[in-house]
Amino acid sequence: MKAKIYITLKRTVLDPQGKAVTNALNSLGFNKVLDTRVGRYIEIELKEKNKQAAEKKVHQMCDQLLSNPVIEEYRFDLD
């Protein structure tokens, strides 16, 4: 089973990188870009057939290491 994990900064946290990307896109002429949030994408191969068990494990991984709950939030897909 493969977990596709998306980690982003919380909405309440300023994203300096995203801000710079917004400015760069605007200067390229993409004037309709209002905001950009830059995050992290992680793919994990799991030796696990049970979807519920896999979900539980990925939550643990995200909570313990992959994301920092002070500044980040995460979501993931399993397939």
Binding site: V13, L14, P16, Q17, L65, V70
Partner: protein
């Protein structure tokens, strides 16, 4: 009065690069004893104080300090800290303490998106810690920084809490000791340059006192941090 040397344990992670600056400051400048602590070990070898030095542990992969915090030595450092032992994290060491949950908050990328390597002024906000007891309240120290992620962040409610509990130990300021937006090199919340835990025995700061401990290095202001630790341990 005791004259015996105090033992400073300096942790070395793969990617630490300020460990030797710390050895030099503690041993050659302060005349104290040091012991290197390898990240894979778990014995603190009877150290009186633990220093987590600066650098780029584990290449800053994932997040700064995120992987180093799981090193075997960190389990012992956490135990030592919980028992009241003095622990100081400098730069990457600060980031590791945050990731380990020994200090509140997290680091974001500098708002300027640049790696900042420069001298800054920091104001001592709390002199009642093992690391600042030789400082005057409000004393301004000129110490260098070198980091890309020193933009300290914590939720507003938590910020109020650490403010009230005097856990903000250093703030970036101008040469007169005023924390201005211009004197903030990284966008850090409340100009925070260093904080402590609630008990005050764990401190993290982004500036490098070990790089400013001799006049030949153009500032000896950082030496007072090490003097404070020795004075605390000698009491």
């Amino acid at each position: 009065m005791k004259t015996s040397k105090k033992k400073f344990g300096i942790v070395i992670f793969p990617g630490s690069n300020c460990d030797h600056d710390c050895f030099h400051a503690v041993e050659s400048v302060m005349g104290q004893q040091t012991v290197p602590l390898w990240h894979k070990d778990s014995d603190l070898q009877g150290a009186d104080c633990i220093i987590l030095p600066g650098g780029f542990s584990y290449g800053d992969y994932l997040r700064t300090g995120a992987i180093a915090r799981f090193s075997p030595i960190m389990k012992s450092v956490e135990k030592f800290a919980k028992a009241g032992g003095p622990v100081i994290g400098i730069c990457n060491g600060f980031q590791i303490l945050l990731e380990a949950g020994l200090l509140p908050g997290a680091m974001l990328r500098n708002t300027c998106l640049q790696f900042r390597c420069q001298y800054v002024n920091i104001r001592v906000e709390n002199t009642d810690t093992p690391f600042t007891n030789c400082c005057q309240p409000g004393q301004v120290l000129r110490i260098p920084i070198a980091h890309g992620e020193g933009n300290y962040f914590v939720e507003e409610s938590q910020y109020q809490k650490i403010n009230r509990a005097n856990q903000v130990i250093f703030r970036y300021c101008d040469e007169f000791g005023i924390p201005t937006p211009e004197s903030n090199p990284n966008g850090s919340l409340g100009n925070i340059a260093g904080i402590s835990n609630k008990a005050g025995n764990v401190v993290g700061l982004m500036p490098h006192p070990e790089r400013a401990s001799e006049t030949i290095l153009s500032s000896a202001d950082g030496k007072i941090i090490f003097e404070s630790i020795v004075s605390y341990l000698t009491k």
